[in-house]
C-alpha cells in the first residue's frame, strides 16, 4: 500500500513538472509590400501678403477678382495698385505667390511658363515684365527656386476701350529641370 502511494505521488509529480515547463506558443505571418514611386511637381497659388486676396488660395486653380475699377476715381481694392499712364492707358497690378514643390526627383530648379487661355488683342497681360498671350507660352523663369515665389500680375487697359468686364485665365506650367 505504501509502495502504491509513493508510485502515485511520483506519477503526479511527473505530470506536474512536465506541464510546468510548457512555453507560450506562437504563429507567424508576413505582408510583402510594394509601391512604385513616380516623381511629381506641385504648383499652387497663394494670396501674397501685400496682394489682392485670391479665392481658393492654396489651390492650383484660383481666382483674382478685382471688382469694378475705373481709371480715374472710384475705389482700388486692398493689395491692388492702379497706375495711370498719361492719356493712353491705365494699369492694375497685384502680387501673388506661386508655390512649387518637387517630390521624388532630383531637380535643382524649375521652368515656369504662362499662357493666356483666350486671345486678347486689346489689353496687355503681364506677369512681372513678361507679356503673356494666348499664342504661345511665355517663360517667366527657367531657374525657379522651389518654394514660394512672388510674382506681380499686371493688366494694362487702353483708355480707348469701352467700359465692361474683362476676364481671362492664365495657365501656368512648371517643369522640373
Amino acid at each position: 500500500m505504501r509502495k502504491l502511494c509513493v508510485l502515485a505521488t511520483v506519477l503526479l509529480l511527473s505530470v506536474s513538472l512536465g506541464l510546468g515547463t510548457a512555453s507560450a506558443t506562437s504563429a507567424s505571418g508576413s505582408v510583402a509590400v510594394s509601391v512604385t514611386v513616380a516623381s511629381s511637381l506641385d504648383l499652387v497659388f497663394q494670396t501674397d501678403g501685400s496682394g489682392l486676396s485670391l479665392a481658393n488660395s492654396g489651390m492650383s486653380s484660383v481666382t483674382a477678382a478685382f471688382g469694378t475699377m475705373s481709371a480715374y476715381g472710384g475705389s482700388v481694392p486692398s493689395g491692388v495698385t492702379r497706375t495711370v499712364n498719361g492719356t493712353t492707358n491705365w494699369k492694375i497690378s497685384t502680387p501673388f505667390d506661386v508655390v512649387i514643390q518637387v517630390a521624388n526627383q532630383t531637380s535643382s530648379n524649375y521652368t515656369l511658363t504662362a499662357q493666356l487661355q483666350s486671345s486678347d488683342s486689346t489689353n496687355t497681360w503681364q506677369i512681372g515684365t513678361t507679356n503673356v498671350t494666348s499664342a504661345s507660352s511665355a517663360t517667366l523663369t527657367s531657374t525657379g527656386s522651389y518654394g514660394n515665389t512672388a510674382y506681380t500680375f499686371n493688366l494694362t487697359i487702353p483708355f480707348s476701350e469701352s467700359a465692361g468686364t474683362i476676364s481671362n485665365t492664365i495657365n501656368f506650367v512648371a517643369t522640373a529641370n
Binding site: 505521488t9 506558443t25 504563429a27 508576413s30 516623381s39 514643390q101 521624388n104
Partner: protein, 165 residues
C-alpha cells in the same frame, strides 16, 4: 494523502499553456486595399504606381502630403486563433496574445508603420500585448516617403509574430 492533494492542485493550475495552438491569418479590410493572399499568413500589399502631388491612390488607400514627405496608408486585418488541442482542465486559458512586427530588410529612408508603431529591421516592435483571439483586428499600414527620395520601387516585407500570453 494530504501531500497527494497538494500535487494535484499544482498540476491543474499549470496545465493549459501546452495546449494552445496558434494560427495567424491576414485578411483584406473592408475599408482597405485588397490583399494578395488574403486569408493566409502570407499576404501582399501592392500599391501600384503613385505620385505625391498627382493622381488618386487606389480605393482603400489614403494619401497625405506633408511639408517634406508623403504617406500612403491602408488598413488590413489580422486574425489570431488559439485552438485548444487537449486536456479537460481549463483553469488556465490563454486569454490574449502579443503581436509583434518587424521589417525584413533595413530601410533608413522611408518610415514603415503598422498600427501607428514604427517598424525597423533590427528588433520586433510590439503592436499589441492584449490581442483578442478569433477577432479580425484592423491595423493601419502606413509608409512615409520623403520628397527627397528618387523615384523607383519601394518594397519590403513586414513579418508578424503572435505569441500566446
Amino acid at each position: 494523502m494530504g501531500f497527494v492533494s497538494l500535487v494535484i492542485s499544482r498540476a491543474s493550475g499549470q496545465c493549459l499553456p501546452l495546449v494552445c495552438s496558434l494560427t495567424l491569418t491576414l485578411q483584406s479590410d473592408a475599408s482597405g486595399i485588397a490583399l494578395g493572399g488574403s486569408g493566409t499568413n502570407s499576404a501582399s500589399l501592392s500599391f501600384g504606381s503613385l505620385q505625391a502631388f498627382s493622381g488618386n491612390p487606389p480605393a482603400g488607400v489614403s494619401k497625405t502630403i506633408g511639408s517634406t514627405n508623403w504617406t500612403i496608408s491602408t488598413p488590413f486585418d489580422v486574425k489570431v486563433n488559439c485552438q485548444n488541442l487537449l486536456l479537460s482542465c481549463s483553469l488556465v486559458i490563454s486569454q490574449s496574445y502579443t503581436l509583434t512586427a518587424q521589417l525584413q530588410v533595413a530601410d533608413t529612408v522611408n518610415t514603415w508603420r503598422v498600427g501607428g508603431v514604427a517598424l525597423n529591421s533590427t528588433a520586433a516592435s510590439t503592436l499589441t500585448s492584449t490581442g483578442a483571439y478569433r477577432q479580425a483586428t484592423a491595423y493601419v499600414f502606413a509608409l512615409t516617403i520623403p520628397f527627397a527620395e528618387p523615384s523607383g520601387t519601394i518594397s519590403n516585407t513586414v513579418n508578424l509574430v503572435a505569441i500566446s500570453n
